[in-house]
């Protein structure tokens, strides 16, 4: 987990709360095409060294930002040099999916934000509460 975070920290993960705009900017600099399509789940896909993040069109707000951060984490951590690679959000339980979830949580809620409840005040909903709780678990378990 520490190694994963080290790879992503240069992109701002855990230093500041990354917005959707920040994440899209990273995608642009990495030459990743982001598509919003009518699919049941978001996914990361690469073919012949061309990179794509497909976001479920119906996602909005924090859920969409989280999905984008999750797929971006796959790009940095798990994208290989195979002809084609694909990772699907929430479909298959694996270490890679767990890592991408953890990095996305950190992207939205950096460690310093655990000291206050600004995040929860800014996002007064159940999804944000769960996200914050998951972030607290990551700090407890991995000290990150």
């Amino acid at each position: 987990m520490l190694f994963a975070l080290k790879k992503l920290s240069k992109h701002g993960f855990n230093h500041r709360a990354l917005s959707e705009e920040d994440l899209l900017h990273i995608c642009e600099s990495e030459d990743i095409t982001v598509l919003y399509l009518d699919v049941p789940t978001s996914f990361y896909f690469s073919v012949r060294n061309k990179y794509f993040i497909v976001l479920k069109k119906s996602l909005k707000g924090l859920r969409r930002t989280f999905a984008l951060a999750h797929e971006l984490a796959h790009h940095f951590l798990h994208g290989g040099k195979d002809t084609a690679n694909a990772f699907f959000f929430g479909l298959i339980e694996s270490r890679n999916e767990f890592e991408a979830d953890a990095m996305a949580t950190i992207a939205l809620v950096p460690r310093f934000m655990l000291n206050s409840y600004d995040f929860l005040e800014e996002h007064p909903n159940r999804y944000a509460r769960q996200l914050f709780k998951n972030r607290q678990k990551l700090e407890f378990l991995y000290g990150i």
């Binding site: 996914f43 073919v47 012949r48 084609a84 694909a86 479909l91």
Partner: protein
């Protein structure tokens, strides 16, 4: 990735035999997967080279039943050699098959959902391969 040289032209009968063999499909499987767009007896007739002029609908049903791209079936039916486009289709198909294996591991996805994802992947992969081949 399959090169053009590796993909030898074949008759429709040879094509059907090869794909069924590779995928371990029986003629009944093809009928079932095609949702009866083609019957098992007609699949056998194609496989044995008895049926020579299948209709467009039958070929489309055959493509679904075999799980291949329509163009491949139509090319084989025309007895044409593999073209650059066919090679692209084969690569796309291989990518789709890889993704399909991953999706099949998930119990959370409906058949319709799976098709939507595969459509998106097919669209992206074909676009990339097309643009690179045209460069």
């Amino acid at each position: 990735m399959l090169s053009f040289i590796e993909y030898m032209p074949e008759t429709l009968s040879e094509f059907v035999s090869r794909v069924m063999d590779e995928k371990n499909l029986s003629s009944y499987d093809v009928e079932r997967i095609s949702k009866r767009a083609i019957t098992h007896s007609y699949v056998n007739r194609l496989k044995n080279g008895v049926a020579k002029n299948p209709s467009t609908d039958k070929l489309k049903g055959l493509a679904i039943g075999l799980g291949v791209i329509e163009d491949e079936v139509f090319s084989a039916a025309r007895g044409q050699k593999a073209t650059k486009k066919s090679a692209k289709d084969i690569e796309t198909l291989q990518i789709i098959e890889g993704v399909e294996i991953q999706l099949d591991r998930s119990l959370k996805l409906s058949a319709k959902g799976k098709e939507k994802i595969l459509d998106a992947v097919r669209y992206i992969a074909a676009g990339v391969i097309d643009s690179e081949n045209n460069e």
